[in-house]
Amino acid sequence: MALLEVRDLSVTYSPRDSAAVRAVDGVSFEVHDGEFVGLLGESGCGKSTLGNAVLRLLDKPAAITGGTITFDGRDITSTSEDDLRSMRWVDLSTVFQSSMNSLNPVITIRRQFADTFDAHGNGVDVDARAGELLEMVSLDRSVLGRFPHELSGGMKQRVALALALALEPRFVLLDEPTTGLDVVVQRDILDRLRVLQARLGFAVLFISHDLGTVMELADRVMVMYAGEIVEDQPAAEMVSRHLHPYSAGLLGSYADPRDEIVEVEFIPGRPPDLSQSHAGCLFQPRCPVAVDKCRTVHPDLLPAGRGQVRCILVEESSGGRAALDNLAALRDQVFAAGPSELADVEPVLVVDGVSKVYRTRRGLNTTVTTAVDDVSFGLRPGQVTALVGQSGSGKTTIARMLTGVERPSGGSIWFGDTPVDRLRRRALRKYRRHVQLVFQDPFSALNPTRTVAYALSRPLRNHLGLSGAEARVRAGELLETVGLSPAAQYLDKLPHQLSGGQRQRVVIARALAPEPEVVIADEPISMLDVSIRAEIIALLDQLVRDRGIAMLYITHDLLSARLLADEVMVLNEGVMVERGPTLQVIGEAKDPYTRKLLAAIPRPGASGTPVVARGDTEMRAESA
């Protein structure tokens, strides 16, 4: 018998102000003792809702509207809160999506452990047991006496993990436990988790949209789409022999940057609106291989391969993979990057020995942070230079200095013969005609109260002096350029009426509006779903090549750097530790820090069949 058994579970949000949303729809799955199950899916597909339902933590307006949840043979679908209490944490524990907020800010870590023990009548010595747990996640015992705000994000995350394991639960739900953390830290925590899981033998349901990680860690992977599970396969199987077109799309957007040739593909379109009912397959509108029948018949989750799949094509083809073979014919939605040569062009923007020192005063103490330390480089037309580094390494600071938001403490920046570091007001405004910024977060980069046309017309009117009507026409053209067509359909929309990918396109269009020579893109895709990332990268690449723009591409994601950049610079604590042609840096990293970054890249199926990861063995040894 399975430890956790979910049958036909449905969860509906019925808010007062809007239509009901079926966030989880007829989901069934099992988790066995000691099993590590991954749950993948685009943002908003219902992963967290499903997790909360399993934990019976749904709050109004969400409610379980059908199905059963059985834990260790006991039906907990509608057990009362009071009866459930004894099971909580002893049987079912969890680490939430946002590690930052899941600890009570006003009591010490010790008390958060203590009340867990108290609640379950566990007469253990709190200090001893909690200390032990903290050590298990490589934290010092002294952390016990601290308050959450005195810990870094990674530390909080580890505390949350230790807390989740405090009562040696049989099942742990991890809901994107490492989002918002630095790649290296993230890696560290996940490695530790896997080790602990192997040692303590609890079962895990691991929710994430980070494909690589899930594939690498999990024994079995479930893929969710629009509230339904569309595929459920052992991890190794999923990597090499996934069956559902959506899984293929998801996996296609992932590749190993160390490969000679890196290809990513993307699924255009957005998930369906779950507040409406749809006939047929929910994925059909985005499915490249859909047939007529997909439009009318809703497929069931049926055994296929070594697991289950929800797809008519798979159902109908005997071997199961027939449908996917058709995909090969549709290669136009793929972005590929091979080895590239650095062309020798004069740089338009030259950074010469730039440093930035921040002084922060707290009370009488002054802390000096050297955010950027003697960095030099140049940006060349038609080329992308990637700036890679972990969080806090000074990437944004460099971007701010390049755009004149901040002045360097030392060194100089030249745009042609304009000294950027000395520009003020009017001159600065003029300079920004030539140097534009693409923002990281498309959700905050657009004013929620202003239309797309307004956002695009401002730079046109200010920098190019166009009239209102001209600007509107030009704005339309820009939208077409970034692939939003027909433009008329988007011009008068407000940001909240656009998807993330569409918003990011608007942001890019706005940066292009004044026809800049230099574009700085500060982590432009980190807030987007995996499936959209490739699409945006393709767009950026095309723009750079077509328009001869010099681009600084800031990221901590080596894969996108590999895809887009001609040249890569690695920044560590403000110092540039490595610089060179992309493939060279990634393939033959010399600096230990660069190697650490590379090691943090998950390698799905590393122990099994190397389907995606085909990096050199040396690297793999490093991470072990």
């Binding site: 002893v90 524990s93 009591i107 705000h149």
Partner: protein
């Protein structure tokens, strides 16, 4: 340390501004304390006797000299805590008048403020804990309605019903004509009788703000991840409500409460006027209507200092209660 200096600087600057405001406002306006005193005496139905007026004016020693030197003298007097002689209570000093009135205000309003806060916080927490239940609606809607009734009107109605119609409680004053302030049981029970209605009026309208504030804060904290995690951990409901809801939700209210306590005098004007309660608020209103500049200035200054100190304490308390602030504000 620097933080402390900054606070002190702000404290002093605000005080100075208040003191100056205090000095200027009365002097910029027409009016004559002596005339005000005289008309308090005889109303507007008798002719003013110019000789008498001049004598009173002379007695009060209304200041002469240019504004600047007056200001300088005034600052000096304030620094030395000399507020002079009250005009309307000549020859009693301003300090004596404040000393007489202060205990009454402190006791009546202080106690009811604390009680309002306690009641409001408890009801608010209860409403949040039983969110969307009938208890919640009764508390929220009830307090909203009560909160909108004008305070002075409630007070009038209370007097009408309980003092005049039912004659259960005296209709005003701090104590009866038959007793006089002393440390006797009789006096205390008398004073208590007299404080019931004003206290009731304050208690009806007082908790409303705290109820709504507490409820909203707590609904929010109970929706936070840490509260959800507490539930997931299987903590008892009460414990979640207290440690994960109320404990955090109360923080903003505590600051508000300290500031409200500091603003105590302001809130007493109405209640003390209606109930003729011998406290600071009524003294202030009287000082204003009699143009008793010295008394008014002192009272105003007194309140400002009260509010400033309360603000200061609120900051400190907040730092003490909220560990997140504690570190940031440590020198």
């Amino acid at each position: 340390m620097l933080y402390f200096l900054r606070r002190t600087g702000f404290f002093v600057a605000t005080l100075w501004a208040a003191v100056t405001l205090n000095f200027l406002i009365p002097r910029l306006q027409p009016g004559d304390p002596a005339q005000a005193l005289l008309s308090r005496l005889q109303g507007n139905t008798q002719a003013v006797n110019p000789v008498q007026l001049a004598a009173i004016r002379k007695m009060l020693g209304t200041q002469d000299g240019n504004l600047l030197s007056q200001y300088w003298d005034y600052l000096g007097a304030v620094v030395h805590g000399q507020f002079g002689v009250s005009y309307s209570y000549y020859p009693y000093s301003v300090t004596a008048m404040i000393a007489t009135a202060l205990p009454w205000t402190l006791i009546l309003v202080g106690v009811t403020q604390i009680a309002s806060f306690a009641i409001g916080t408890l009801l608010g927490a209860w409403a949040a804990y039983r969110r969307n239940s009938r208890v919640d609606s009764v508390i929220t809607l009830g307090s909203t309605f009560v909160g909108t009734l004008p305070f002075f009107w409630i007070a009038l109605v209370l007097i009408f019903v309980f003092a005049i119609t039912l004659n259960w409680f005296p209709d005003g004053g701090g104590y009866g004509g038959g007793s006089s302030p002393s440390w006797t049981w009789l006096f205390f029970s008398d004073a208590f009788q007299h404080s019931v209605l004003p206290a009731l009026a304050l208690l009806i309208t007082g908790p409303v703000g705290w109820i709504i504030g507490m409820r909203n804060n707590m609904v929010q904290t109970l929706g936070e991840d840490y509260a959800r995690l507490a539930r997931a951990k299987g903590l008892p409901r009460r414990r979640i409500a207290l440690t994960y809801g109320a404990r955090i939700a109360i923080l903003p209210n505590v600051t508000g409460f300290a500031i409200a306590l500091g603003g105590l005098l302001g809130g007493t004007v109405l209640v003390e006027t209606i109930f003729n309660y011998p406290g600071l608020g009524r003294l202030l209103l009287e000082a204003v209507s009699n143009k008793d500049y010295p008394l008014m200035q002192a009272l105003f200054l007194f309140t400002t200092i009260g509010v400033l100190i309360a603000n200061f304490l609120a900051d400190v308390t907040y730092g003490f209660l909220d560990p997140r602030v504690r570190r940031a504000e440590a020198p």
